[in-house]
Amino acid sequence: MNNLQDQGISGVPIEIEGVSKIFGPELEKPFRALKEVTLSIKAGEFVSVVGASGCGKSTLMLMVAGLLQATTGRISVDGKPVTKPLTDVGIAFQDHLLLEFRTAMQNVMLHADIRKLPRRQIEERAKDLFAQLRLERAMDKYPKQLSGGMRQRISLIRSLVHDPSVLMMDEPFGALDALTRLQVRMDLEALWMRRRPTVLFITHSVEEAVGLSDRIIVMSPSPGEVVDDIRVELERPRPITLGDAPEFGAYVDRIHHHFERLGVLHGMGKLPQHA
């Protein structure tokens, strides 16, 4: 699929079979968050999931990570059924989940504490990542002393620092400005090409999905189901200026077309009049 594929794939395959999710405790009105989803991700594949807000993307990711129990269906990672939280993964959660009682660096070093990884080495790597993301000065600050985008980048560093074989990222660039976002996107692609982890990437940006993925899963609005599974056949590394290429536009249009058809977009501004 791309010319770096054979350099050694650290990733593992993921199988999702008829997975759905209904929220709601025993005696309350249940809420269907996800219709049945079936999806097969190859080792080292970079798969993006796009879909309207609230369609169940985060829910799906948490189920794959073993953090949430699926209501129906089976999930397996590297051939083993997911019945408990996966541990050899890197996850960037949508709401960052930084521990407010740890400094930025300590948040990243949580891996070393919990997984008993070599501190020195992880710290080295963390420092490189802090530098890469221009966060050197944030290292010893507590989360509440940091800006929104800085917190997001720290969560990103934490998901990457232990070089996991499976990466899951839930809108990891949502709070970043346009250019930092481009930068981080390229950094991520480079990292992926070097180590080839399996990536499950949730994003709101169609451009980002096309810019990064081998495959894009398009989901319908809530309750979500898979409406398209698009293979992106573009050269890697993909240039920043990707937006100008005609094939790129075709992919974007195909996705937008789904959204429009599914009614994500509706009539013109009709905010209520003030009384």
């Binding site: 929220f23 405790p25 025993e26 073993g66 129990q69 019945t83 408990k84």
Partner: protein, 277 residues
Amino acid sequence: MDSNAPATAVVQDDVAPRRRNQTRYLIGQFLWNMIPPMTFVAIVGLWAVSVKVFEVPSYLLPAPDAVFRLLIAEAPMLWANTKVTLLEILLGFGLTILLAIPLGLVIALSPLAKQVLYPPAMLLQLVPKIAMAPLFLVWFGFGIESKVILTLLMTFFPLLIASISGFQILDTRLLYLTRSMGANTWQTFRYLRVPAALPVIFSGIKTSATIAATAAIVAEFVGANEGLGYVLLRGTSTMNMELTFAVLVILTVIGLAINYAVELTEWALAPWQRKSK
């Protein structure tokens, strides 16, 4: 919790099992709810058996059935005294709730108030009030006042500390929200601080509630002609251990009832927390 246990490792409050068998589910629920009473029965059973087997004399530990018989036989007298003690508890503990929570708020909010009020409040707490109880009697009289005051003083500080901590725990960024709406102190209190502090304050209320019964009893030890503390001491001073234990049982039931009432209130006041229970 164990990383080898398969199913339980998944975060529990998100699990939504499909219930194929409603009846079986209800039976399960019932058994689950029976655990506390069964524990209780087990404890009483153990008590009864050991008293029998080791021939424990009644002045050391009376048999539960003897205590139970006395509870029945003396029910009217016990009930009359229970009402007295209950009133003291409710007044003293009620005052605590009315005073400690607002004071906790003031101390949490104003560094000056903390600097001025906290040390004397703590001083008052640190003075062993049980030792002071006889003095209270002399100062405030033989009536219900001295009991209410002692109950107030003994239950006050746990709730005060919890309230301070509850009100301080608030994510200060949330204040941005209410401030930008022009909330006054009272509104910030009502709409933001109180609900945010609720779990911690309720933990303080529970602590205080468990102390309340003890406090009223102690006050009655020191000087009373009625109330459970009076009955209890009469029991001990006449070697009537069945009576003493009957009072202990009633006090425990009162404590349980208060605790239950507090939990019910919390459940009603904090609907957003219900599921995590």
